[in-house]
Subunit: 200 residues, 2 copies
Amino acid sequence: MSNPIDFYFDFSSPYGYFAASRIEDIAARHQRSVTWRPILLGAVFKVTGQQPLTTIPLKSDYARRDRERTARLLNLPFKMPTKFPISTTAPARAFYYVHNKDPAQAKRLALALYVAYFADDVDISAPEATIEIAGHAGVDKTEIARALNDATVKDRLRHEVDAAVALGVFGSPYIVIDGEPFWGSDRLDQVERWLESGGW
Amino acid sequence: MSNPIDFYFDFSSPYGYFAASRIEDIAARHQRSVTWRPILLGAVFKVTGQQPLTTIPLKSDYARRDRERTARLLNLPFKMPTKFPISTTAPARAFYYVHNKDPAQAKRLALALYVAYFADDVDISAPEATIEIAGHAGVDKTEIARALNDATVKDRLRHEVDAAVALGVFGSPYIVIDGEPFWGSDRLDQVERWLESGGW
């Protein structure tokens, strides 16, 4: 059995949302599984000294246009959230808590969180919003509420972010296939070709 | 007849080189012509306050890998130049001088300059190198040598850069189809679809 593909993303990243909607299908076409790994870009940027895209005037205007155009091309519901970017600690903790028990359910939760944020303008940085969405995804709400403040869950997320930084992850989405990194949803075509051919 | 596609690029941009190798074919498939517009990213960055990619540690490591991988995928000769990035005033002036008389020859010259820089490691920031390459491309070398210091040619390049900045061009390659901007060689797929469908 081949290694799983590592899929790093931040819940506040629109291109992460676009990639999340496609990565499982791409992997499945090549008999691969995907390990989803939400990270906190804010923490990554602190280490790498990067600035969020929104601070660069011309680029941010273009980025707005590019996001909407790409969403339309992918037939994905998309509306730039009122609050952006946001801290995604709560959704990321919820993800890892659920993931420990049921990775498939965790992926469904991740997609639900993305849709809530990027289609329905729900501020998922709020723990209550994350809990509500987890409830809809079939997770016990009391359990999730407790998990968001659980020391083990907090440590798990911290560890995942540290490990990602140590590996060189600097953006979202960031996909690693057998050690080969691909950054950005616009590299999904190369991801697919890499899986097809084993590299070039 | 449809409007020409505007193709902005800097001779020091590897992704500009990748796009230059494909843009004419893509446009021709949709009965479009392409207006090539070399610019000076250094001047653009001064206005927009951006930093070259190479100043961001993790990103620059990834970028190196991505460039080589993309070149292999496109079957393009590619070797990261010893001196990078460079000032591209000389090649850009040479381009506009030739373009005034023969746009098709100017495009051939642009491709020859790109190959010299990104495949043969020739430092095309040196006027002598640009003159030599222009000579190989069938342009009179004495004429080009004079053109590189000609006030009209200098003004033309300055005007082109100013107009690009005014339009919002902030990177290379940057392609505009009927007012719709596309940034990056990884948007060529969307460029092709846009030409096919007239937008979405």
